[in-house]
């Protein structure tokens, strides 16, 4: 009765620099293709926030041998599921398909990696600028609390910092962008040596590597961009807070924190992750039990981490207040719960629960070819070794109570929070944001990723 979640991994680098990762699952009937490009919103020019994501949309508008719209039409027409997402650190293109359609997927991906320019037109560029604006409206501007995360980021990262804005970006910046910039972006970031191709599922190692060479081997390597990362930042020196009044049903607070960057072993961030899970994940967590169950001042309370690599990772928490409850008291209790945890550390039960939860999350993530492919691409692109995937869970399981407590002390306590407080506006309209500490909270995009 053992669940063996070890993921087989083979990897090879083609002559043009494309890193190819293969993980066969014989008999599955399904194959997943996953490309991570080493470009995300953190690589954007300050006056082009959102460009990486807009570019991702244009990758579906055809390439030299593929007509606009055909990428989706051909793949969906063979039963595939596909999409792409743009995050802070990377852009990800993926498709899951019947094993017999693998060649089609690889051909389509290779054509747009090599020859996107040929198909770019002002018309489809303008169209996708419009579509992205509607994406932003639907996900953020026409949704209660939809822009709070965006407002929180500049409180902990300066505007020039790679994580100072969200991937969805600034619609004014995108409206000012030109077609030439799309070509330039493609030649700067989209090349074999700046990407990882992962193939998982019902294909042999030999066939997968042969097909990768067949479809991608001819593409010129290009010159990969500078991959240096910014220096890590310590936790913010003093609490920062922004109060806003918006058309929302209930008062709420968002908390944003600088965390240690993810790394090949990821041990420090993993310890922070366990700490935040104990404090803020699910109905066994300390925040839930105190604010939602005991005090009954909140409808929900949570804290989670966003694994990032450029100097720092990011912590985000939120509490939705019960109507009539004051945010001062809730913020105070939030601090109290986190500080108390940092003082006493986790109980054995809490540690066991957090480990069981992490194991389950891992098994869930590994339960599809697409999930395995995405995780392998991530380890290969961000940490240089796809085989590190199989180390992630053991590292996490080996973390001690002391490490969890230390992580909480350094990274989670009240002194290092930035807060955005949102209260319902009397008029039902969004009023001007009023910065209590720093003045400029503006511009940025969606949660952590934006799909096409």
């Amino acid at each position: 009765m053992t669940a063996d979640p070890t993921v087989p991994v083979v990897s090879r680098t083609l002559d043009n620099g494309l890193r190819v990762v293969v993980s066969p699952t014989p008999g599955l009937g399904v194959v997943a293709v996953n490309l991570w490009y080493d470009v995300g919103s953190r690589h954007e020019e300050p006056h082009r926030q959102g460009f990486a994501h807009l570019f991702e949309h244009l990758m579906f508008q055809g390439s030299r041998h593929v007509k606009p719209g055909d990428h989706f039409a051909l793949l969906q027409g063979h039963g595939a599921s596909l999409n792409a997402t743009t995050s802070f650190d990377r852009t990800n293109y993926y498709e899951s398909l019947p094993a017999g359609a693998l060649d089609l997927a690889l051909w389509l991906e290779a054509d747009r990696m090599a020859y996107l320019d040929d198909a770019l037109t002002q018309e489809n560029f303008d169209n996708q600028v419009d579509v992205v604006a509607q994406e932003r409206s639907q996900r953020m501007d026409n949704v209660p609390y939809g822009t709070v995360f965006e407002k929180a980021l500049p409180l902990i990262f300066d505007a020039e910092h790679p994580y100072g804005h969200l991937p969805i970006g600034n619609m004014r910046h995108l409206a000012e962008a030109t077609l030439d910039e799309v070509s330039a972006f493609h030649s700067t970031y989209y090349m074999p040596s700046n990407a990882v191709l992962t193939i998982v599922g019902d294909v042999t190692e030999f066939e997968a590597l042969r097909k990768a060479e067949q479809y991608f081997g001819h593409i010129a390597p290009g010159t990969p961009p500078d991959r240096s990362l910014p220096q890590p930042l310590p936790p913010v020196a003093e609490p920062v807070r922004l109060d806003v009044s918006e058309d929302v049903p209930m008062p709420a607070i968002w908390f944003a924190l600088r965390l240690p960057a993810d790394s090949p072993t990821g041990r420090e961030l993993a310890a922070v992750g366990l700490a935040s899970s104990i404090v803020g994940e699910g109905d066994t967590s300390r925040l839930h039990r105190r604010l939602v169950r005991h005090d009954q001042t909140a409808m929900s309370a949570g804290l989670g981490i966003n694994e990032l690599i450029a100097g720092n990772a990011l912590g985000i928490g939120s509490v939705h207040a019960v109507p009539g409850q004051g945010l001062d008291e809730i913020a105070q209790v939030f601090d109290e719960v986190v500080s108390q945890f940092a003082v006493v550390g986790p109980t054995q039960l809490e540690l066991d629960v957090a480990r069981a939860q992490a194991e389950r999350d891992w098994l869930d993530a590994m339960s599809t070819a697409a999930g395995r492919a995405d995780a392998l691409s991530g380890c290969a692109l961000l940490f240089g070794d796809p085989a590190l995937l199989n180390e992630r869970l053991p590292v996490l399981q080996a973390i001690t109570a002391d490490e969890v407590q230390s992580a909480a002390q350094r990274w989670l306590t009240s002194a290092v929070h930035a807060q955005v407080r949102v209260v319902p506006s009397a008029t039902g309209q969004t009023e001007d944001a009023r910065a209590v500490e720093r003045a400029d909270a503006a511009a940025g995009p969606d949660s952590s990723g934006a799909a096409i």
Binding site: G69, S96, P144, P323, T368
Partner: protein, 451 residues
């Protein structure tokens, strides 16, 4: 080596089949269906009870959904927190939900913890505490949730569509009830509902995953075999009435940057002979990224992030439902475009569209059921809609046989583009007049809150 100039050939998908069930009936009457899914180390299980929401009293609607919330808040001598800890130690999730066609309790847990997690599931179902404090707390959370949900335009659009489309049947009203009905629910109502309607003779356990050497039937048997209970027989179900006259419903959402749209018409249930042909037709019209609706609204006009249609079913009603959110100043044009596309689709679905849609619908099967949870969810849906668990293979065979003629006939027969219900959630002052000028139906303005 150079680039290949045209798409490579695609080898047809292997003849995929839905996993075969191992079936068993416990001595208390509970049916068990187990599906072995290799590589799925998180086991998914669902205990489905045959009970319709029509058993709820009209002035206490939402009681089933409140039972679902309370069921996991302590059981068999464990307090809510002890119960949550025990589940969490298994890495397990346990929850319950009510729908118009059934009540179900869902479990997922890594296979090494299956025995313990199944016993906890059995405790919740057979010996729920329904503690007074927990009941009051869950009720308050539900009331707050109703208030919160009313601020989301997508949610409001969906509720207003149901209200307009389903006339006076239970389906017209929210599964979880609304403020007045939830406020009226007492702890005893919750306990009574559970006692009367959660009984082994109307229950089916659907469980799937990579069991390895574990015998799932034996595990389920050990957890549930001592459960002896007879509740009330399920009452007969009433027919569901749906709107047949065109309607335009306008919900005011002042100064919103987008309008949220739902456009729906009567369709067919899954047991209808036209289901498969209609499914394929829907794929071409609005059910995929490359569909007619998305191609016009997103890829040509850029007024939306996405527009799609779906066939939604319950046991006794089928709905064809288009949903999207569009740039505010393009609202009326988008609504007209959608209705025109639906009208123009009659008799015009092409061989190419239908062949592509048939392939898309059938070759995606292995992918769609890769996860154990997907297998369980599908069987649960089929049983709750009165279909046999092996319906997936039957449905796939019929989907493969759909011709262009059959798709066109079914679409023309089923979808009446002149009898749609149109719901627009947007700035009423801007939309009232042009929607009226359009002349599809009289514009009825309603408040965002359902009453």
């Amino acid at each position: 080596m150079t680039a290949q100039l045209s798409p490579p050939t695609v080898r047809p998908a292997d003849d995929w089949r839905f996993p075969k069930a191992t079936e068993h009936r416990l001595t208390n009457g509970m049916r068990v269906l187990a599906y072995h899914c290799p590589g799925q180390f998180v086991i998914a299980a669902s205990l489905l009870f045959e009970v319709s929401l029509e058993v709820e009293r009209r002035d206490k609607e939402g009681v089933a959904a409140l039972v679902a919330r309370c069921l996991t808040q302590g059981a068999a001598g464990r307090s809510a927190e002890e119960f949550a800890d025990a589940l969490a130690l298994c890495g397990a999730d346990l929850g319950a939900s009510a729908s118009h066609d059934g009540f179900s309790v869902h479990l997922s847990t890594p296979v090494p913890h299956l025995s313990v997690a199944l016993r906890l599931m059995a405790d919740a179902v057979t010996a729920p505490a329904f503690d007074r404090f927990e009941f009051e707390h869950e009720k308050q959370l539900r009331l707050q949730e109703i208030e919160q949900a009313g601020a989301y335009p997508q949610h409001v659009a969906g509720e207003q569509l149901n209200a307009a489309f389903f006339a006076d049947s239970r389906s017209a009203r929210p599964i979880g009830g609304w403020t007045e009905t939830v406020e009226a629910i007492e702890r005893n109502d919750v306990a009574t509902f559970a006692r009367d309607h959660l009984q082994p003779v109307t229950a089916t356990m659907i469980i799937a995953g990579d069991f390895g050497t574990v015998d799932p039937i034996a595990e389920v048997g050990q957890a549930f075999q001592d459960w002896r209970h007879v509740g009330r027989p399920a009452p007969p179900r009433e027919p569901v009435e749906t709107a047949v006259s065109p309607q335009v419903v306008l919900v005011d959402w002042p100064q919103s940057p987008q309008s949220t749209l739902r456009i729906a018409g009567r369709a067919v249930t899954r047991d209808d002979q036209r289901w498969q042909a209609m499914f394929v037709a829907n794929h071409a019209v609005g059910g995929s990224f490359s569909s007619r609706i998305n191609s016009v609204l997103r890829e040509q006009k850029g007024v939306t992030y996405g527009a799609s249609s779906a066939l939604e079913t319950s046991r006794r009603a089928g709905v064809f439902n288009v949903s999207t959110a569009v740039r505010a100043d393009a609202t009326v044009e988008a609504v007209r475009d959608i209705v025109e596309i639906l009208t123009a689709a009659t008799g015009t679905l092409t061989d190419d569209e239908i062949a592509t849609s048939v392939r898309a619908a059938t070759e995606s099967a292995a992918l769609g059921f890769e996860r154990a949870e997907a297998v369980v969810t599908r069987v649960e849906m089929l049983l709750s809609q009165g279909l046999p668990p092996d319906h997936v293979d039957y449905n796939l065979a019929r989907l493969r046989a759909v011709t262009t003629e059959a798709a066109n006939t079914a679409y023309a027969d089923v979808l009446r583009a002149d009898q749609l219900t149109v719901v627009v959630v947007g700035t009423a002052d801007e939309l009232r007049k042009p929607l009226g000028t359009w002349g599809y139906a009289a514009v009825r303005e309603v408040s965002p809150e359902l009453r």
